[in-house]
Amino acid sequence: MLQCHVKGCNSNNFPLQLSDVEIEIQETDFNPKFLRNMLSKLEWNALVKTALEINITTLPNVLPNDLDEEFLKMLHRVLLETHIKQGQMICPNCNHTYPIKDGIPNMLLSETET
């Protein structure tokens, strides 16, 4: 969902690539209504690509038409229970690095970059 916003960096800047990540799994209640809600807002290709970078291979390349419980549970695991605690997000175009610390992405730029 986050995109590079360095001045002049206007193409090929999404999705940001994950690097040096530390993953933590936190179990939470399964909420199929939330998942169905979110699916309409997701950019599926970007999600699949990003998940692969952290070795999550359970997502199909194409979003299935039939959203059965098994699929939603798998999605729940990826979207809601898989947390990136530490790491970096790197712009594939300009290589700017945005840090993730304690699960919080930092998109701030220095004054010269905006």
């Binding site: 995109q3 979110m38 309409s40 945005y98 919080i104 992405p105 998109m107 730029l109």
Partner: protein
């Protein structure tokens, strides 16, 4: 009556880095509570966004209003310390908040273009000089210093509201009289065809605070 979020996990030391909820925060909570039925039954949000979340009190409260955990609650703050506290406040009140440290909504557009169903902003509204705003090194000062008419940050946000709001989206904005709320409503109407009303207003000491609510014509 929805209780004010529990902030017992915050220490006096935390309030050296983040602005403690005050009358303005509570007015925004009251406005959301006033609109609770409308938010739950008509808006039925998918994605909510709060800008300048501070302690996270407002988004936690919004999460409580919505109740069923079916909306994504994104919070931004320019202060990394506030982002961390926001997530903690959500956690301590059993509401999942997703903090991002950024200036206003940098990095969120264009991906969240016309995607936000509920947008909240308690801006830095205090009238100061431009120098106070741009030369200050204090992160806490950024939470309140608003520059000329207290409008300098608010005016940066206004064009972004149109980009962020979904067709059914609503925007809640806290202002004080010195911010010239009528002028803000005119800008939103003339430039972006956004309708508005004063949802609540209250005197806090000498400060007249109000909550403006904006929505698209199409609704």
């Amino acid at each position: 009556m929805i209780p004010t979020p529990n902030l017992d996990h915050l220490s006096p030391g935390d309030y050296e880095h983040v602005y403690e909820p005050a009358e303005d925060t509570f007015l925004l909570l009251d406005a959301l509570e006033k609109d609770a039925e409308f938010l739950r039954n008509e808006i039925k949000p998918c994605i909510c966004l709060e800008i300048g979340s501070g302690t996270g009190c407002v988004s936690t409260f919004l999460g409580k209003i919505l109740g069923d955990g079916t909306a994504l609650l994104i919070c931004t703050d320019i202060n990394p310390y506030a982002s961390a506290i926001t997530n903690k406040t959500g956690y301590h009140n059993s509401i999942q908040l997703d903090s991002i440290t950024t200036n206003l909504v940098n990095g969120l557009l264009p991906r969240l273009y016309h995607s936000i169903d509920i947008l909240c902003f308690n801006p830095p509204y205090v009238v100061t000089t431009s120098d106070d705003l741009y030369l200050s090194k204090s992160i806490l000062e950024k939470a309140w210093a608003g520059g000329i008419d207290g409008r300098e940050i608010i005016d940066k946000m206004l064009p972004l509201v149109d980009k962020l709001l979904s067709d059914k989206g609503v925007f809640y904005l806290l202002l004080i009289n010195e911010n010239k709320p009528n002028e803000v409503c005119e800008i939103m109407k003339n430039n972006y065809h956004l309708q508005s009303e004063v949802l609540l207003s209250r005197l806090a000491g000498r400060e007249k605070q109000l909550i403006l609510k904006f929505w698209r014509n199409t609704r």
